[in-house]
Symmetry: C2
Subunit: 389 residues, 2 copies
Amino acid sequence: MADPAATGAGGEAAAAGSAGLAGLSLGHGFSSYRPFEPQEAGLQVLAEPSPSLPALGIGMDSCVIPLRHGGLSLVQTTDFFYPLVDDPYMMGRIACANVLSDLYAMGITECDNMLMLLSVSQSMTEEEREKVTPLLVRGFRDAAEDGGTAVTGGQTVVNPWVIVGGVATVVCQPNEFIMPDSAVVGDVLVLTKPLGTQVAVNAHQWLDNPEKWNKIKMVVSREEVELAYREAMFNMATLNRTAAGLMHTFNAHAATDITGFGILGHAQNLAKQQRNEVSFVIHNLPIIAKMAAISKASGRFGLLQGTSAETSGGLLICLPREQAARFCSEIKSSKYGEGHQAWIVGIVEKGNRMARIIDKPRVIEVLPRGTTATALPPDHPNASSEPSS
Amino acid sequence: MADPAATGAGGEAAAAGSAGLAGLSLGHGFSSYRPFEPQEAGLQVLAEPSPSLPALGIGMDSCVIPLRHGGLSLVQTTDFFYPLVDDPYMMGRIACANVLSDLYAMGITECDNMLMLLSVSQSMTEEEREKVTPLLVRGFRDAAEDGGTAVTGGQTVVNPWVIVGGVATVVCQPNEFIMPDSAVVGDVLVLTKPLGTQVAVNAHQWLDNPEKWNKIKMVVSREEVELAYREAMFNMATLNRTAAGLMHTFNAHAATDITGFGILGHAQNLAKQQRNEVSFVIHNLPIIAKMAAISKASGRFGLLQGTSAETSGGLLICLPREQAARFCSEIKSSKYGEGHQAWIVGIVEKGNRMARIIDKPRVIEVLPRGTTATALPPDHPNASSEPSS
């Protein structure tokens, strides 16, 4: 989600820093790699009108720059944020998956180059730096390799907080990317990861914060939080590359990825870019099990309103109606590896390029992998359960 | 200088943060946009061996990635650091000039896309953010425009410190870039900006620090520090684009830009990459007037040893001997605008790919623009003076 922030469509700032992630401690015997608490940051500082902005760059997940060389386009995105899980290796993977996701949202499956952006924390000891940093780098590199690319450069600084991010770049022929502007009435909206990542991350922190834990302990057990946290971590680290490839197979008309604005914010952003007079209506919310209940009990997040920030979320894809079910079935195939899922979450109607969630959306409680349906009975009145993969 | 940090050739970290730049205050009525003091940071965290690193990426200012499309290469660099001048607009310009400089060091004069990386400080008031941030962005954008490119995206976060930087990307045909590996014995080394930028920036801060000022007040006046600071600021904000273009005109064999490692560090890095058995010997040090004296009096920096960090410094270019004087003359031509200079600083000898500075280098005291030679008599025994364009 680099470019909405930069080109006037939104000004998204580091989603990971928005929800009270202070004092993360590592599970490996060192103290902390993110000792401060960033503030909510809905910045629009790059949003000033600029005559030099190409229209193609506005509102999309990646910028698309026509090149001087026959028919090729440069597609590029950047993103960086603060750690939000306490496993540095997984954090590196998540940061890389999050950057690549902006390419995948355009149906791009290749990446020609990846740069890594990194800061180590000045409040870490030398020993902590030497343990944490190589793990962050390794996770980032491994995810890049899974994406078929390599990290060839970057920049490292010292900062009060750890920062991790990157820049993904590809040079494409026109048939390699899908402009996110061609939804038609009758299309169906598909989502490829469950919502609730940041709720899970926060709830996991609250395990050590009695005041906050007391607000949610009536609706969730410690074990359920641990499972949801692990599920969120794995989902955030999963590349949207398979989904990007299937966008071509099933003739996708438009897509975006779900990050800091939540599903509703990104759906609205995508709706604004459509060439046809359409609107998006979301009926179903696939959510990591119990996270809807935590969102309600805590009075924060707005998960059921679609405004809860996600990190490295799934793709929201407009597909022809007859293709959507086949997409959801195909992505679960074992040939793509484990853990891929997709749900039909809404429809494309005639309208004024808006997006909304219906009054009482159906919450699909997505069970963490490794659990069974009976272990986590849904408690939401509209809830139904599906095992995760 | 993105890639030495990332690919094992050096691990340069934010040069701007290395020399005590705490407590910078803005001249426009708001308090501070860089309230903390970063530590020295010679990080090599990305230096772990990786089989996936292309050889072309190692040790160069930009990475060069062969593309799948006939003969084209992707050339890309990133850099970000902390503010070091108290004018946010100029700081934006400097950050952009600094990023582009890595392309210019390869003789590349075009840039297809620029992304901006930015953080605002959480310790700023909302009013300060609203004043400072648009100026940073505007300066960055204006410099990008001078470079013939546009800022199409980026990422913004909240952080304890202000961060500003970017990503420059271009897709090139082979004749558009000059690989920095072809120096031959008999070549001459040319430098396109005077040294001493960080000394000037620090000395300017010491005007408000009696303890530090007392160490240098015997060798420099407050007025001279103010002039040097302004000169450094303008030099750092000057694009190396003209020099990049002239590298082609005058058949340059190799080049790099001078940043965090100082002229000696970057000369050594460049020497290591040469295909021929050559070494670089530096005889002359063009230095902003009085900065050599401050470096000696303060006992810091190592400016005369070539180890003082620079920010957005000049290009160090290996040119055929017969072309070097013509290069230095041509770059001063008014057709390229004001403020461009170049000096012959050394020679290429037969050797083992090392670089050194001779025992008593000639210090060329470069007078700030707007001063006359008599206003700033050189005090270094080996010094000579040249007015700055």
